[in-house]
Amino acid sequence: MTEAAASAVVEKVEPWLSQGDVFTSVLIVRAGVAKGAPVAGVDKGPALLISHGCAIDKKTNSGKSKLEYLSFLPIQDVVALPSERAERLRASSGNVQPYEAMYLGSVPEVGEGYVTLTQPYTLPAVLLRTELREFTAEETGDAADHRIVATISDSRAGRLTDEALELFYRKWTSQWTRRDIVVDEPDRGEP
């Protein structure tokens, strides 16, 4: 039996909401068919926050939050996959392919998980009763800033590392545009 690879989710969660935050229990919106008729359902389960940090912290000129929605990908159980597919997914850890799935390894408080990039969904931010809160330069590790926090239903257990987020960006653009974008370094100084 293959051990779950070390998780890409190794960083502790920050007090503020960030892209790549792992929620252990959040609403998941689903659609399906039952007895031949369309049904809508809500579920609670683990999910990855995919809204960009700049969009989360966006403010009006007067300094009020403009955040209305947060987007997520459901986290799913690797062990539930047929064994051959589970092995192939584990072996893909760190690779851009397959574009549509990202292996997360053993996720704290969740289990061995993966996300499918073709299944994003969006929730109103008010469900987490988000609000701007001031953080010092020491707390942010950058400049003092107002950032968004969840004041209820904050079930976050970790956050993707910067390296894992970079891989997520490459998978996202590859899946949805079939372009793998290599970003120029801003200080390269080339014409």
Binding site: I28, G32, V33, G36, A37, P38, A80, E100, V110, D180
Partner: protein, 81 residues
């Protein structure tokens, strides 16, 4: 545990009294999705399985590799629309 509600959508999908035909259709959809079996966890239209336990088909056979292009970091989007 999934909370599944009947929606207000019109019941426009083909139905039979026994729903046998509907089950055949769901099984076929599950097979087409690449799932190994057609049990509820593998069925992409069934809401009877909790989200975490669902089985999703993942395509490992990418015949169209992504084209590598250079890009630049975009500026923060401050445009109100």
């Amino acid at each position: 545990m999934a909370i599944v509600r009947e929606s207000n959508f019109p019941a426009s999908l083909p139905q039979t009294d026994s729903d046998v035909r509907g089950q055949y259709k769901l099984n076929a959809q599950a097979r087409l999705s690449g799932a190994a079996t057609s049990d509820p966890a593998c069925n992409p239209v069934s809401l009877s399985v909790p989200s975490f336990s669902r089985v999703t088909h993942i395509s490992f056979e990418e015949h169209a590799p992504a084209r590598r292009v250079a890009g630049v970091q975009v500026a923060e989007d401050d445009l109100d629309w």
